[in-house]
C-alpha cells in the first residue's frame, strides 16, 4: 500500500469526520444547554436533504437548495421545539427518548407520504464536480475538499458564536445555571427555541451537503444519528470541542479500519476469510472505540458532568 493511498484515505476519514461534526455539534449543543436527548436529530438531517433535493429539482440552483435545507430544518426544528420538545425539558431522559422516538416515526413516514417511496435526485453542481490534483499527484474529488472546508468554516463560526457574541454568553450561562440566567431577565424560552433551531439547521445543512453524493431517501437519518451519538459520547456530552475531536476520531477509525483491518488479517489468514473477518471487525470498530473511551473516562474525553 503506497503512502499516497494512505494520505488519500486519511483525507476521506477527515471528510467523514467533519460531516459527522455538523450533526454532532447540534446534538451536543442541544444536550448541553437544555439537557435534552434528541433522537429526532436524524429526521432534521433527512428534512434538510429532502428540501434541498426538492428545491434543486425546481430551480436547478445548488446554493438555493442549501438555503432551503437550512431554512426547512430550522423551521421544522423551531416548530417541534414549540409544540413538543418544550414540554420535555423538566422530564426524565426516558420520556425524552420515547417522545423523540415517536417524532422519528412521524417524520419518516410523513416524508414518505409526501415524497413517495423512491429516492430523490440531488447532484453536485458542475462547478464543484470532478477531481483535482493535489500536491504529490493525488487525484481527489473537489466536492469532498469543499465539504472539509465547509465543515471547518461552520465549526469556526460556531466557536465564534459561542465564545464571542452576546447570544453565546447566554448559551454558556444557560449551560451552567438555568435559574440564574432567567433571573437576569433573559427570555429563556426564546433562547431555547433559538438554540434548538441552530442545532436543527446544522443537521439540515449536513443532510443537504451529504445528500448530493449519497442517496436522498427515507430513513437516511438513523444511521447518522447513531454515529453522531457515538461522537458526542466519546467527546463528552455538551462539549463542542469534544464533538469536534470525537467526530474526527470516529471518521478516521471507521475509514481506516475498513481499509487496514482486512489487510492486517491477510497476514495470517487466507484472503477471502480475512476480508470477511476484517470487514466484520471494522464495522464494530467505532463501537469498540467508544466503549474503550467510556471505560477509561466514564464521561467522555471532555465531559464535565454525567
Amino acid at each position: 500500500m503506497s503512502a499516497l493511498l494512505i494520505i488519500e484515505q486519511v483525507l476521506n476519514g477527515l471528510q467523514f469526520g467533519v460531516m459527522l461534526f455538523l450533526m454532532a455539534a447540534g446534538l451536543t449543543l442541544i444536550f448541553g444547554v437544555m439537557g435534552l436527548i434528541n433522537l429526532a436529530h436524524g429526521s432534521l438531517y433527512m428534512i434538510g436533504a429532502f428540501a434541498a433535493a426538492a428545491v434543486a429539482g425546481a430551480t436547478g440552483s445548488f446554493i438555493l437548495a442549501l438555503g432551503a435545507a437550512l431554512a426547512a430544518a430550522a423551521i421544522a426544528g423551531a416548530l417541534i421545539e414549540i409544540t413538543v420538545i418544550r414540554r420535555l425539558y423538566g422530564k426524565a431522559h426516558l420520556d425524552q427518548v420515547l417522545a423523540t422516538f415517536a417524532l422519528i416515526l412521524i417524520f419518516s413516514e410523513g416524508t414518505r407520504w409526501v415524497f413517495g417511496s423512491f429516492p430523490l435526485f440531488l447532484d453536485i453542481p458542475d462547478y464543484l464536480s470532478g477531481p483535482v490534483t493535489l500536491p504529490g499527484g493525488i487525484q481527489y474529488p473537489f466536492y469532498r475538499l469543499t465539504l472539509i472546508a465547509a465543515g471547518l468554516l461552520v465549526g469556526l463560526g460556531l466557536w465564534f458564536l459561542i465564545e464571542r457574541t452576546r447570544v453565546g454568553i447566554q448559551i454558556r450561562a444557560g449551560e451552567n445555571d438555568r435559574e440564574m440566567i432567567a433571573a437576569l431577565g433573559i427570555d429563556i424560552t426564546r433562547l431555547y427555541t433559538l438554540v434548538f433551531a441552530i442545532g436543527a439547521a446544522l443537521a439540515g445543512l449536513a443532510g443537504a451537503l451529504v445528500g448530493a453524493i449519497q442517496s436522498v431517501q427515507v430513513g437516511m437519518g438513523e444511521p447518522v444519528l447513531i454515529l453522531a451519538f457515538v461522537v458526542i459520547v466519546i467527546g463528552g456530552i455538551g462539549s463542542i470541542k469534544g464533538a469536534f475531536i470525537g467526530a474526527l476520531l470516529v471518521g478516521l477509525t471507521d475509514t481506516l479500519g475498513g481499509i487496514f483491518l482486512p489487510e492486517l488479517f491477510k497476514l495470517f489468514m487466507e484472503p477471502g476469510a480475512a476480508t470477511q473477518t476484517g470487514s466484520a471487525l471494522a464495522s464494530m470498530a467505532i463501537y469498540i472505540l467508544m466503549s474503550l473511551v467510556l471505560i477509561w473516562r466514564p464521561t467522555g474525553l471532555f465531559g464535565a458532568r454525567a
Binding site: L94, W113, A280
Partner: protein
C-alpha cells in the same frame, strides 16, 4: 380511579380468556398474537427490573434478547443437521429440547450481562444509555457477518422445539407454556421488589450515597439487577425465536432495544404489570393500525407522543391515578 391490584387481576384474566375464546372460535392466529404479546412482556419485565427498580436505562437489552434467540437457533441448528457444536476444547451436541435451550439462553445472557454490566456501570445517565447501545451494535454487526449461522439471512428452524408432554406446534399449547413463564417471572419480580435486595436497589437508584453509608455497595446491587434482568430478557428471546421458528440479527438491533423501552413506558415504569399492559397495547396497535393504512407509523408516533405528554406514569398511571417510578 381503579386500584392497581384490580387492574392487574383484570389483565391477568384477559390474557387467559382471549386465547380461550379464540380457541373456541377457531381463530388460531389470535392465539399467536397473544403469545407474541406475552413473550414481549417477559422481555420487558426483565428490562423493567434494571430500568424500573434499578434506574438503569439500557438501550442494549436487545443483546440479551438476541443471545437467547441465537442460543435456541444454534442449538436447534446443530440438532437438525446432526452436527456437533465445537466450543474450543468442549464439544456438545445440539438439542431440540426447550428446557435445555432455556437453560443455555439464561446462562449465556446472564454471563454476558455480567461482563457488560461490569464495564458499563462505571458510567451513568446518558453515558450508560450510549455504552449499552454500543454493545448492542457490536453484537448486531457481528451477527450480520457471522456466515456460519446465516448472517443477515438468519436461521430457520423448521419445526418448533419440543417440551416433554406437549405438542408445541399447537398454538394454544405454546401459549400456555409462555403464559406460565410470564406468571413465574412476574411472581419473582414481585418477590424481588419486596425483598431486602429490592428495597436496597430502589434506594440505590434514588440516593446512592445513603445506601453506601449503611454499608451496601450500590454498584454491586445494580450489577446483580442487571444480570437478573439480562437473563430474563434472554429467556424471552429464546421463546420469541421459537414462536417464529426463526432467528436473525434484527433481534440484536437497537430498534428492538428501543421498542422494549417503549413497552415499559407505555405501560408504566417500575409497575409490576406495566410491561404487560405495554406489550398488549403495542401488539394490538401494530396489528390493527398496520391493517388500516400503509402509513401507520405516523399514527403510532402520535399515540406514543400523546402518552408521554399527557399520561404521566403510562397507561397504568392513567388507570390508577398514581405516577410510576422516576428514572
Amino acid at each position: 380511579m381503579i386500584p392497581e391490584r384490580l387492574v392487574n387481576a383484570i389483565l391477568f384474566a384477559g390474557l387467559i380468556a382471549v386465547p380461550l375464546c379464540a380457541l373456541v372460535a377457531d381463530e388460531p392466529f389470535t392465539i399467536t398474537l397473544v403469545t407474541r404479546a406475552v413473550i414481549l412482556a417477559i422481555a420487558a419485565v426483565g428490562l423493567n427490573i434494571a430500568l424500573g427498580i434499578g434506574g438503569l436505562v439500557s438501550l442494549g437489552h436487545a443483546v440479551f434478547f438476541g443471545l437467547g434467540g441465537y442460543a435456541m437457533g444454534v442449538l436447534a441448528f446443530h440438532a437438525q443437521t446432526y452436527t456437533p457444536l465445537n466450543l474450543g476444547p468442549l464439544t456438545i451436541a445440539g438439542t431440540k429440547s426447550m428446557p435445555l435451550i432455556w437453560l443455555a439462553a439464561t446462562a449465556i445472557s446472564a454471563f454476558v450481562a455480567w461482563i457488560i454490566g461490569l464495564l458499563s456501570l462505571r458510567t451513568s445517565g446518558v453515558y450508560f444509555i450510549m455504552i449499552t447501545l454500543a454493545f448492542g451494535q457490536m453484537f448486531f454487526y457481528f451477527a450480520i457477518s457471522w456466515s456460519t449461522y446465516g448472517g443477515e439471512d438468519g436461521l430457520s428452524i423448521y419445526v418448533r422445539n419440543g417440551f416433554p408432554g406437549l405438542n408445541t406446534l399447537i398454538p394454544i399449547q405454546f401459549f400456555g407454556l409462555s403464559f406460565i413463564i410470564l406468571s413465574v417471572v412476574l411472581f419473582l419480580n414481585a418477590r424481588l421488589q419486596a425483598s431486602p435486595f429490592g428495597l436496597a436497589l430502589n434506594a440505590a437508584r434514588q440516593v446512592p450515597a445513603r445506601v453506601e453509608t449503611v454499608g451496601l455497595n450500590p454498584m454491586r446491587l445494580k450489577l446483580v439487577a442487571f444480570v437478573v434482568s439480562g437473563a430474563i430478557t434472554g429467556l424471552a428471546g429464546a421463546l420469541f425465536a421459537d414462536l417464529n421458528r426463526f432467528v436473525s440479527p434484527t433481534m440484536f438491533s437497537w430498534q428492538l432495544s428501543g421498542e422494549l423501552i417503549v413497552l415499559i413506558i407505555i405501560g408504566g415504569v417500575g409497575r409490576l404489570f406495566g410491561p404487560v399492559i405495554g406489550a398488549c397495547l403495542f401488539v394490538t396497535l401494530e396489528h390493527w393500525l398496520g391493517g388500516l393504512t400503509d402509513f401507520w407509523h405516523v399514527f403510532l408516533g402520535l399515540i406514543l407522543l400523546a402518552i408521554v405528554l399527557f399520561a404521566r406514569g403510562g397507561i397504568m398511571g392513567l388507570l390508577t391515578g398514581k405516577e410510576g417510578t422516576h428514572v
